[in-house]
């Protein structure tokens, strides 16, 4: 038991998970004395999330010094490697900023205690998903993440659009989950074990394993928004509160991808197959996300569609790495995972700040933020406008921002493989990055128009708690563009771990 209590991985996961009921209880208890359950719940959430950085630091040091760390709690097996630490870093980082940000964004709404409780539970579940060592637990973490995120998507339960998005999300996720469970059952029947590393040794490549792999791709693919399983995403990501949109686009879909990679890795003997499959899906994702985003006038929906395209970039990088057995592609994909979390998180938070400033979330005035609303934002909110532009230009992959560095690494990895297919795909990705300017630039253009829109002129001031997360993310987007080595300690072990997963 001591080994469990001393283990930093356990603490990193347990703090948000234990904090979830605590936050809800604190909020409910507080309402007996004062109105509004948001403040105490947010305090608990922030304390838990900030506290989780301490075991995170220990985990990072341990990983760098000693390599992977495993722990067994009863039947639950956990294993910390580069990939799980990277996912934990993005989830915790974005989660902390979103918790800070949501105070003002949710001002005056009902059920805030539940919001923070679910946010904590979702972050804890994602860390668990990243470090699950056996198939069944991995499925459980995956479900826990889905359920908590479902409640968050439908947070504005009084709004029809929000409920519709929630239902779509729930039904499609459930369909995906069933397929995953089927896959799990097939694997168990074939190999007689659930432990991911044992499956690889136990099972010889067989048709049943291949089928279960297909089920996993589709099941997890629903959550990871692999085209054509992405149809729920624009509704869910656009209707959720902006902080949650940031989490969903920035971490949750990526967490599903990590889960998919973990289970595929266990199905040994098909490494190349999965590489080719992911590459094809990645290329389709890049293109379709772009095409869908091109005609959008609603800002959050546009950002949601662009997430599909960026998932494609991440997939391409990882698939290049798996197919050509090279570190740089896998590292590029994982680097883009971090960058996309930062940039898309920043874009959603900035859009949310604008929704708050223009009062679009207020009862009776509820309507989506559109591109014409952005007109002349820079005149009234120069910092916000700059941060939003940095995010959007970073997503477009303009140097010297973070997005350029990771996209460039992915494309360079494709070209360096000297395989004509991969070079072609890298070129395709580059052209798509160019096409994406077609919807990113109008956003920047609108923000820097000289005449502010009427909505902007009548906007209200932004509170500091909203500005701090936006500034932090904006600085990160610039800093990672100039010094990509800053995340080297996260990306390099993760890239190595990813390749090690697929022998």
């Amino acid at each position: 038991m001591d080994a469990v209590v001393d283990n930093p991985l356990v603490w990193m996961m347990a703090l948000p998970l234990l904090g979830a009921p605590l936050a809800y209880l604190a909020g409910s208890a507080w309402t007996r004395f004062r109105s509004g359950d948001g403040a105490p719940a947010r305090l608990v959430a922030l304390l838990c999330l900030l506290g989780a950085w301490i075991p995170f630091g220990s985990c990072l040091r341990y990983l760098v010094a000693n390599g992977p760390l495993a722990v067994q709690i009863g039947d639950i097996g956990l294993r910390l490697d580069g990939v799980s630490l990277l996912l934990a870093a993005v989830a915790l980082g974005l989660g902390t900023l979103v918790a800070l940000y949501s105070g003002a964004a949710l001002d005056g709404e009902d059920g805030q205690a539940k919001y923070y409780a679910m946010l904590l539970a979702m972050i804890g579940a994602m860390i668990g998903l990243g470090s699950a060592a056996d198939l069944f637990n991995l499925w459980l973490w995956f479900e826990a993440m889905t359920i908590s995120s479902y409640l968050l998507v439908a947070f504005h339960r009084e709004q029809r659009a929000s409920l519709e998005a929630g239902v779509k999300y729930l039904v499609q996720s459930a369909a995906g989950s069933v397929l995953v469970l089927l896959g799990v059952a097939l694997v168990l029947a074939q190999t007689g074990t659930m432990d991911l590393s044992e499956i690889r040794q136990a099972g010889s490549p067989s048709a049943a394993l291949l089928v279960s792999g297909g089920l996993f791709v589709v099941g997890f693919g629903v959550k990871a928004a692999l085209v054509p399983l992405h149809t729920w995403l624009p509704d869910a990501h656009a209707q959720a509160p902006s902080g949650i949109s940031a989490m969903l686009s920035g971490v949750v879909i990526e967490a599903a991808l990590v889960g998919l990679l973990r289970v595929l890795a266990a199905l040994a003997g098909f490494g190349q197959t999965w590489g080719v499959l992911l590459m094809a899906v990645g290329a389709i994702n890049v293109l379709v996300g772009n095409l869908l985003a091109l005609g959008q006038v609603r800002v959050k929906r546009l950002l949601a569609y662009s997430s599909i395209s960026h998932m494609g970039f991440i997939l391409l990088g990882i698939a290049f790495g798996l197919y050509a057995r090279q570190q740089s592609g896998a590292q590029g994909g994982l680097f883009h995972l971090i960058n996309h979390g930062l940039m898309k998180g920043l874009a959603f938070l900035a859009a949310g700040a604008l929704i708050y400033a223009l009062g679009l979330q207020l009862p009776g005035r509820h309507r989506p933020l559109t591109i014409p609303d952005l007109d002349g934002t820079s005149r009234r909110y120069p910092t916000l406008a700059l941060a939003f532009s940095l995010a959007v230009l970073g997503l477009a992959g303009l140097p010297p921002l973070a997005g350029f560095m990771s996209k460039w690494q992915i494309i360079a990895a494709g070209v360096a493989s000297r395989d004509w297919w991969l070079i072609g795909l890298a070129l395709f990705a580059g052209i798509n990055s160019l096409i994406s300017l077609g919807y990113y630039f109008p956003l920047v253009n609108a923000v820097y128009r000289s005449v502010p829109s009427e909505a902007v002129q009548n906007g209200r001031a932004l509170p500091v708690t909203m500005q701090i997360p936006i500034l932090v993310l904006g600085l990160a987007v610039v800093a990672l563009g100039l010094w990509p080595r800053l995340v080297g300690p996260l990306v390099e072990p993760a890239g190595a771990a990813l390749l090690a997963m697929f022998p």
Binding site: L210, P228, T231, L292
Partner: protein, 638 residues
């Protein structure tokens, strides 16, 4: 001790940084005083270095940092202190400080006062980088830096001039023409790195003789590329067209950049590359030839100008031609000597001309009747020698020094060049003699038109002597123009021996009485001829007797031999036609071609939006189809 050279660079940099931040608060004249002070301090440090170099004449290279290190290419940021670079530093910072000081009074009340001094200090910094560089790459940085400052300062009054863009286009012209020279410089850099694997003077100097034979094609190639660079920067045929237009800048700029320092960078470059040019007699001959012909043609063009500053501009081109001839003939000491004295008397002439323009302009403010009055047109001057005595006397000193009358500085330096040509190339000697004759002629013409005869405009009639802030620098420069020749008196040749520490086998030719006498007599003849012509013409109230004597030739001279027209006919107009054609092509066919992919993407986008129906049943069915599809694919792939 030699590390003090860092301060020479640092002072102008500090001046410009402080002005950049606090300039608006320092204001007028605070910012100007600060800038002048930084230039003056740079000069004082140069003087200390001079004392140090007298004790240790071999000098030193002061490494500061590694700049570029790629493969075998290793370019340090290092400063060179030797007799050649220090001479240039002294001229640049010394004359520069005087001109800075003059500019405080000259630019008084200009709305861009602070900006002007920031640019001026930036120029000084770039020029000092150029002359203190220990390798060609650093030299190129300074070279481009002074080019940039020249552009910024020519266009300083960018909203003035013909149709409000005249000055801006003059600045652009200077910049574009200089690019041609810069291309030469870049080519030389590549060739040198390819040949020697290094760009440091200290590395190339011994390697040159080792790797290249006398007259080797590569030596000719490198030196020709360097010569192209020098022709651009030092305004020689056929690239001199930018310098007359550069007079659009404020007069202190013309004095500092376009007379005393920057335009001499080409001469410095060739002197600095002696180890290469000595191996390429062909290039040397071309250099000397271009220099001599430029000297003659520009001197003739100067006689056809009516703008007081354009006369001086063509005179500068002509004198630069003298210097180029000198370095082309291998008489490096004579070239650098003439560069130094020319800095004195030409800066003096420009500043004195500025004093005249300043007086006319400020009087013109009171007489707004003549809206299109040009204060630089000599046809609106006259009779100023009584009303502006100080300016007249210093102008006369400058003019006589330029004409090369003994014992003024110009006599000694020009005589050395003439002598070198006399010993080496008799034909060049004859050309240079003719140029010297024309020099004294056009200067005498200018003196007559500006200072004698009746006042030809109300502004000239009411002109008053300029304030002390303008007069004091004039007197300092006049003194230098008088005694500057003492640097390298025949017999002692102190300057040549000083430069011999850096340059090789200079062997100053001994003074030749007959050459000196001939040159002096020709100069006097020029003055006499001009005086006879213009005395009579001014008395008769005629405009310009040359116009009558030369006829259409005079107009050609006024247009600088029509070189601009040739460029317009050969390059600018055909290029304009070509771009118009290409624009048509772009708007027609290419726009259509661009439209194709854009239309395709639009179509695809609209099509894919159709799939986003929002129908949940359809979506879930899609998931099931997805399972089937993926299984089929997996089966197919195995």
């Amino acid at each position: 001790m030699f590390s003090l050279v860092l301060l020479v660079l640092l002072f102008p940099l500090m001046g410009l940084s402080i002005n950049l931040v606090f300039g608006r608060r320092l204001g007028d004249p605070g910012a100007g005083i600060l800038a002048s002070l930084s230039a003056g301090l740079a000069f004082v440090v140069s003087l200390v270095l001079l004392a140090a170099l007298r004790l240790e004449p071999q000098g030193a290279v002061i490494p500061l940092a590694t700049w570029i290190q790629i493969g075998t290419l290793d370019i340090p940021w290092a400063l060179q202190v030797d007799t050649l670079s220090l001479t240039m530093m002294l001229v640049v910072s010394g004359v520069g400080a005087v001109i800075h000081f003059y500019a405080i009074a000259y630019m008084r009340g200009d709305p861009g006062f602070v900006r002007f001094f920031i640019y001026l200090n930036l120029f000084l910094f770039a020029m000092l980088v150029l002359v203190s560089a220990s390798n060609y790459a650093m030299l190129f940085v300074g070279w481009e830096g002074v080019g940039l400052c020249s552009y910024l300062l020519i266009g300083f009054w960018f909203d003035r001039g013909e149709q409000g863009i005249g000055n801006a286009s003059a600045a652009r012209k200077a910049f574009v023409v200089n690019r041609i020279g810069d291309l030469g410089f870049l080519l030389a850099l590549f060739l040198m790195f390819w040949t020697f694997g290094s760009l440091n003077f200290a590395d190339i100097s011994p390697l040159a003789e080792e790797k290249l034979a006398l007259g080797a094609p590569l030596a000719v190639g490198i030196t020709t590329a360097l010569l192209v660079a020098a022709i651009g920067k030092s305004a020689q045929i056929p690239l001199f067209v930018w310098l007359p237009d550069a007079m659009a800048g404020p007069t202190p700029v013309s004095a500092l950049i376009h007379a005393a320092t920057m335009v001499t960078a080409g001469v410095y470059l060739i002197a600095r590359s002696q180890f290469l040019f000595d191996l390429a007699p062909l290039t040397q001959m071309v250099t000397a030839g271009i220099g001599a012909v430029t000297a003659l043609m520009a001197a003739a063009a100067a006689a056809g100008q009516f703008d007081i500053k354009r006369v001086l501009a063509y005179s500068t081109i002509s004198q630069l031609g003298f210097m180029m001839t000198a370095v082309g003939l291998g008489a490096y000491a004579a070239g650098i000597f003439h560069l130094t004295t020319h800095a004195f008397f030409k800066a003096l002439l420009f500043l004195a001309a500025g004093s005249v323009v300043h007086a006319l302009q400020h009087n013109h403010g009171a007489h707004m009747a003549h809206r299109d009055f040009d204060p630089q047109d000599m046809r609106g001057m006259g009779g100023l020698h009584r009303r502006m005595p100080v300016t007249f006397w210093v102008y006369l000193i400058g003019a006589l020094a330029l004409a090369g009358l003994p014992p003024l500085s110009g006599f000694f330096s020009k005589d050395e060049i003439l002598l070198a040509a006399f010993v080496d190339q008799k034909a060049l000697f004859a050309i240079l003699l003719a140029a010297a004759f024309l020099t004294s002629f056009y200067m005498a013409r200018q003196i007559w038109l500006v200072f004698f005869g009746p006042a030809k405009s109300p502004a000239a009639a009411a002109a008053r002597e300029s304030p002390a802030g303008l007069a004091v620098p004039l007197v300092i420069l006049a003194a230098l123009a008088v005694v500057g020749g003492g640097l390298n008196l025949p017999g002692s040749h102190a300057f040549s021996h000083w430069l011999e520490r850096t340059l090789e086998h200079l062997n100053p030719p001994s003074f030749d009485l007959y050459v000196a006498l001939l040159a002096t007599l020709l100069a006097l003849a020029g003055i006499t001829l001009a005086s006879v012509l213009y005395r009579r013409a001014l008395r008769a109230g005629q405009a310009d007797p040359l116009e009558r004597i030369l006829g259409r030739m005079f107009g050609l001279l006024g247009r600088g031999w029509g070189l601009d027209d040739i460029y317009a006919a050969l390059i600018i107009r055909p290029y304009g036609r070509l771009t118009a054609r290409l624009a048509d092509l772009d708007l027609g066919a290419l726009t259509f071609l661009e439209g194709l992919p854009v239309g395709l993407i639009r179509l695809l986008s609209a099509g894919s939006r159709l799939t986003q129906t929002g129908q949940l049943n359809w979506n879930v069915a899609g998931i099931v189809f997805g399972v089937i599809a993926i299984l089929l694919v997996l089966v197919w792939m195995q």
